[in-house]
């Protein structure tokens, strides 16, 4: 199997890598680019732990080939906030204790950011439907939804 040369953009940086034809983007991110924020939960697009955006569209990176990334713009959780300056979603998830083991959290952050980009003022129901593909076995979801909605309130510049 000959490897495929791919040029793409990840979190604002131009990136080149070689990958196998059947290698999924999730494995490329984790094993070749050392971006281990996206997690493999199921590998079949059911759990959302590997969520990233491609050209602004939320996808499961376990169901995208690395080769398909050619010329696209990819954003992962590593591009959201920094240790010194957390994104409001990250801060509110912490403040609401909306995680325990943390495996689902990067995917939740990427998915919730995509939601707020499209809909800055979601209802609880809209947030729950949007995040239905992000499974969490620890929290029972309620804290996650509250955190996302309060982050949205802050991001709109309103008082919580």
């Amino acid at each position: 199997m000959s490897k495929i040369h791919v040029t793409t953009n990840v979190n604002g940086d131009s990136v080149e890598f070689l990958c196998e034809p059947d290698e999924v983007l999730l494995d490329v991110l984790r094993d070749r680019l050392n971006l281990t924020g996206a997690k493999e939960g199921c590998g079949t697009g059911d759990c959302g732990a590997c969520s990233v955006t491609i050209d602004g569209r939320l996808v499961a990176s376990c169901l995208v080939l690395g080769a398909e990334a050619e010329g696209r713009v990819i954003e992962t959780v590593e591009g959201i906030g920094s240790a010194k300056d957390l994104h409001p979603l990250q801060r509110h998830l912490l403040e609401h204790a909306a995680l325990q083991c943390g495996v689902c959290t990067p995917g939740i952050i990427v998915a919730a950011k995509a939601l707020l980009a499209e809909n800055p003022d979601p209802t609880e129901e809209e947030a729950r439907y949007w995040l239905a593909g992000n499974l969490c076995r620890c929290t029972g979801y309620d804290k996650i939804i509250r955190a996302v909605l309060s982050a949205a309130t802050e991001m709109r510049g309103e008082n919580a």
Partner: protein, 286 residues
Amino acid sequence: MRYVVAKDSREAVALLNTGEGARLLSGGTDVLVQMKLSGVAPDMLIDIKRIDGFNTISAEDSGFRIGATVSGAKMGAHPALKTLWPGVVEAVELIGSTQVQGRATMAGNLCNGSPAADSVPAMIAAEAVARIEGPDGTRDVPIAALLKGPGKTHLAKAELISSIFLPARAARAGDAYLRFIPRTEMDIAVASAGVSLEVDENSVVTKAVVALGAVAPTVVSVPEAAAALIGTKLDAAALEACAKACTAACNPIDDKRGTAEFRTKVAGVMATRAAKIAYARAGGQQ
């Protein structure tokens, strides 16, 4: 395995024609899962997303042509398409999670051949037409004529769907899709129904198409159920006759999602509820 980006549909058809081991890659939400879980091991994946026109929604003859690789998310973000065929768009948007919506396509949903495919009853109700490219050229085929059995379509060797056409519709017309699932999201239909209606100025139904999902080896159009609605204002007797015709058309399996008996009963309920929504969308007043 090889990964090849097709430049045009002719190249994709030629690559498909080179052997049995080539599969198309569009959204990948079926084929990549099959490769992981079901031992499907294609020799070649042909990525068709970069072919001109495959990733666009274009207005045509007062309808819309949906490119084969247009995602559900893209359809859901097209206001004019949602206005013309709300039932088709709502059916497509029920497929999988937001993440799956970012990639999954209506053409892929059709080609996967599932009797429970959410978009297919809605497309049949809409009298949608698939444009097919193959070694012998281009042909247009109604969706209903492509369904063969679980996992199978009537596409010939080396044929591919390049787009799906949703036609123009009358001024007083509406469509709707409903499915029964035991949870609120992220599941496969136990029974489903797509209904499209036209009404006259007196709110009498003049045209109807009713299609059912997950109750037979393929999605089925039920002309008897449609006939029960035509000439009525969806009164109780018409809806009962429609449900009865749906029940008679069912030939479902028993599985973990639902028994044959349950599916047979619920199919009629879904059809009559979808008919009421379609009727309201058409501007019908009882």
